[in-house]
Symmetry: C2
Subunit: 226 residues, 2 copies
DNA sequence: ACCCAAATGTGATATAAATCACATAAGTTG
DNA sequence: CAACTTATGTGATTTATATCACATTTGGGT
């Protein structure tokens, strides 16, 4: 647990911006900041959920066991809450979170978090907005994944990672081929093949983990046409 | 718009149970109850969202346009809010809702709904709980759908409709084969074939729209094994 | 009750993707 | 740095499912 001063935190959530001095004091005494290295587990499916996790910096994969393999539900970039649903939707975590880059997470005692919802309407409203926005994004991904073919899904994922996570056409792809498959619901071999093909056609460039999107418009076309 | 008295409503949401007399008056003056017949559209993707819809009675499908066809995101049984995310996640509806049984829906002016969140913490908390529970359910379905094969998905869907919507092993299946396909992400032909096979093997019985689950344990095994 | 449109069932064929198999490359750890 | 384990690329084969085609059936509307 690191020294932390919630009131002066420069990376407040939209919800936390509505807390008053007294509430920040409560937050500070009932939360703990923890650093996770790449690959470390932040919370685990099946465990009791006693805290709300707030991802302050870093990138995380949210994942759960599926019928045949692990499923990566979403990639979350800080700042964002991580699994409010596992705290208020069920006593037991229904999914896991694992750092895919070095990450700092604030764990907030869920009783106090709940009290903020009870007592601070603007805080509650911002939490609701975040949950709602996530649901909409999930539904779009959900729909894509059940209808597009693999090349479309791979293209969509590359664009998404490039645009929403790294804001850059060149980036270190944070997942293994296997995890990429777990994310779009296919095998590592199929991902490999599609990436090779995109590379051969000079639509992307691959250097180990580093991927560069060379022809964004073509990739968007592939993504759109499924 | 029907006469309605929110305070005396017997089908209050978990959130609305926390409203006081004054708030019920506000709710009553800023909401309208509307009846929808089977097949009628309740709200439509692309339209501006100015109301929160509360499904008071009936059954509804929530759906959106996908890359190649319509996608049924979930089947919702009353009582439940219908698309809080389209109200607070985006100005424009990202998905549609259509009655699949006769249905009554209360439309609540979203400004007043927002005010309840601001001023009534227990109301806000129950909304958050509902959003969270839905997210967890969605993630499980999401994961199934990206990993199970068609027979598993058909079995899962039959069990889900039987258990969570009708609480009965015999029920009128509320979707066409095409819609069933839109729901699990497959073609109507594949759905037909799987249903025929389940019927041939006496695991279910089909009489037009009426489906009876004869061997629930076998169906569960098929669902589990994908 | 009749007509027409929509929904359904089922066989034949095509195809995307899984799986299997193996070689190679990259990381990890003692 | 050597020995592993893990990750990756790619060909060959198999398989589940989409698609196409067409015959029935069902159900709503006048």
């Amino acid at each position: 647990m690191l020294q932390h001063h919630c009131k002066d935190c420069q990376i407040k959530s939209a919800a936390a911006k509505n807390l008053n001095t007294e509430e920040f004091d409560i937050l500070e005494s009932n939360s703990a900041q923890v650093i996770f290295k790449k690959g470390e587990n932040i919370f685990k499916e099946g465990a009791l959920s006693l805290n709300v996790a707030y991802l302050r910096t870093g990138i995380v994969k949210v994942h759960m066991h599926g019928p045949t393999r692990e499923k990566i539900l979403r990639i979350v970039k800080a700042p964002s809450y991580l699994g409010i649903p596992i705290t208020f939707g069920d006593k037991i975590n229904q999914y896991s979170a694992t750092a895919i880059e070095d990450t700092s997470v604030c764990f907030i005692d869920s009783n106090y978090f709940r009290n903020f919802i009870y007592s601070n309407g603007k805080f509650a409203y911002e939490i609701i907005v975040e949950l709602c926005k996530n649901e909409l994004k999930d539904y779009h991904r959900y729909t894509s994944q059940s209808q597009k073919q693999i090349p479309g899904l791979v293209a969509e994922t590359l664009l998404c990672i490039s645009e929403t996570i790294y804001n850059n056409s060149r980036f270190n792809f944070p997942l293994t081929r296997n995890e990429f498959g777990d994310m779009v619901g296919t095998s590592r071999e199929s991902v490999s093949r599609v990436l090779s093909e995109l590379s051969n056609e000079k639509i992307i460039e691959i250097n180990g983990k580093e991927i560069t999107i060379l022809k964004k418009d073509t990739l968007e076309k592939i993504s759109k046409n499924g």
